[in-house]
Structures are given as structure tokens and as C-alpha cells.
């Protein structure tokens, strides 16, 4: 299997300490690209190692990305950032749910990447590798990614 669990990319952690990612709503544009279970870290420009999609992935690549369909275009769609905040001693950020309408898609996982790393443009720096647990399919319908609640216990990116 090419997807086997969820990973925060190690390169992202480094870039975070370098101050290269701004999750504030209206700042950096993060995209979510969908892939089949044939994607592997060593293909194209993923920049990773091994045979399963893991934390070694450094970049988005179009290898084994699902085909354009309905609202889904190559490279995926832009996400809506939830501006980082904190609760207690935990800081967190999240994204709004993303729906690709009128689509016929079968995907096993996704990569979230920053297209404006360090104030740049058209960047491909990977943030997260997410496994859906099984192939998910839409047929002339909606394909929706449901993000967890944006709080200190559930948000998708939390620093405790």
C-alpha cells in the first residue's frame, strides 16, 4: 500500500522553525491534492524515501494524482485557513471543509502543501500526508474532505 497512516512532513517542521509558513486566513494559500494508492515518495518531485507515503515527502508532485473532474483540477483546490489561535497552552490551526463538486473521483489519500512558502509563489512545499484509510469514491457527485473541529483537542495542526 502506498498510503499507510498520517504524517506531518519533516521538511515542514524545519520550515516552520524557519518561519516560512503563515496559516493566517488571507495569507499563504494551501492546497489539497488527491492521490490514488499508487503514489510513492520516490516518484516525481515528492522528494521522499521508501515505498509508503510518509513524513519524508517534501513536495507536491502530480504523480498518481487523480484526474481532473468537476471542481477538481490538477494540483488540487485552495483551502480556507483557520487563523492560528490557542487554548490553554496548545496552539492550533485548521482548515475549512473542502468539497470538489460534480466530480467522479477515486482517491486513497491527499497531500496538503503551501503554494506561497516564505512569501513565494507556485511553491510546492508539503505540510501533511493524509491517509483516508480506504479508497473513497464519488460519481458525478460531491467529494468532500471533512477537517476536524478547530480546537485544542482536535485541530489538524496543534503544538502542545
Amino acid at each position: 500500500m502506498a498510503f499507510s497512516g498520517n504524517f506531518m512532513c519533516t521538511s515542514f517542521k524545519v520550515e516552520l522553525l524557519q518561519g516560512k509558513h503563515d496559516f493566517t486566513n488571507g495569507q499563504d494559500t494551501f492546497k489539497l491534492a488527491l492521490f490514488t494508492n499508487s503514489a510513492e515518495p520516490t516518484q516525481g518531485s515528492f522528494g521522499g524515501s521508501g515505498t509508503t507515503m510518509n513524513a519524508s515527502v517534501t513536495d507536491y508532485s502530480d504523480n498518481n494524482q487523480v484526474g481532473a473532474s468537476g471542481d477538481y483540477t490538477t494540483g488540487g483546490g485552495a483551502l480556507t485557513n483557520v487563523t492560528p489561535t490557542s487554548s490553554g497552552t496548545t496552539a492550533f490551526t485548521d482548515f475549512a471543509n473542502k468539497t470538489y463538486g460534480s466530480s467522479t473521483i477515486t482517491a486513497r489519500g491527499c497531500i496538503i502543501y503551501n503554494t506561497q512558502t516564505a512569501g513565494g509563489s507556485s511553491t510546492t512545499d508539503a505540510v501533511l500526508v493524509l491517509d483516508f484509510g480506504a479508497d473513497k469514491s464519488s460519481s458525478s457527485g460531491d467529494f468532500q474532505i471533512v477537517f476536524p473541529t478547530a480546537d485544542s483537542s482536535n485541530a489538524i495542526i496543534r503544538i502542545a
Binding site: 504524517f7 458525478s140 457527485g141 460531491d142 471533512v146 476536524p148 473541529t149 503544538i159 502542545a160
Partner: protein, 98 residues
């Protein structure tokens, strides 16, 4: 030394995926997601308060779904008039009857 913990749970999906075939999501389905974003109920809270909160969330789903249907109906009127104004009255009528 400070140790920042920010890894993801590896053994279970942390994003959900919802899909449909040959249709979009219904107002009720969208309302359910909407209320989950608005109201978060801990499993550890007092059972009486938890049940009350869950009942309130269910009521809110109905309210949100109602206004979504109103918005859809209103938008359909706008679409109907736009298509009718563009010279396609039959198509406009088909859309109005959806």
C-alpha cells in the same frame, strides 16, 4: 529543553471523506456538518449537560437546514430569472421545478 509535540495519529484517519453519487449533499447533511463545527461536545462532560447539549445541537441542525433550504429556494429564483432573461424559458422552468 522544550519539547514541542505536533505529530499526527498514524493509525486512524484524521480527516473524514464524504462522497455522493449522482447528487450533491442535502441541506440536512450540510447542516449536520455545520453544527459539528459550531458546537463541540466533550465525552467527559456531566451526562445531564452532555445530553442537553446534544439535544440542542439536534435542534440547531433543523434550524440551519431550514434556512439552507430557504437560501437554495431564493438562489433558484435568481437562477430561474437569469436563464429566462437569457432567452431559455423552458430550461428556466425545468430548474425552477427541481
Amino acid at each position: 529543553m522544550f519539547n514541542l509535540k505536533m505529530d499526527l495519529p498514524k493509525d486512524r484517519p484524521i480527516v473524514g471523506v464524504k462522497t455522493t453519487d449522482n447528487r450533491g449533499f442535502t441541506p440536512e447533511e450540510v447542516a449536520e456538518d455545520c453544527v459539528k463545527k459550531l458546537i463541540s461536545i466533550s465525552d467527559n462532560v456531566d451526562p445531564v449537560l452532555r445530553d442537553q447539549a446534544r439535544a440542542y445541537a439536534k435542534d440547531m441542525e433543523k434550524v440551519v437546514a431550514f434556512y439552507m433550504k430557504e437560501a437554495i429556494r431564493s438562489d433558484r429564483t435568481t437562477v430561474y430569472n437569469a436563464i429566462r432573461g437569457a432567452g431559455h424559458p423552458k430550461l428556466a422552468e425545468l430548474i425552477r421545478r427541481l
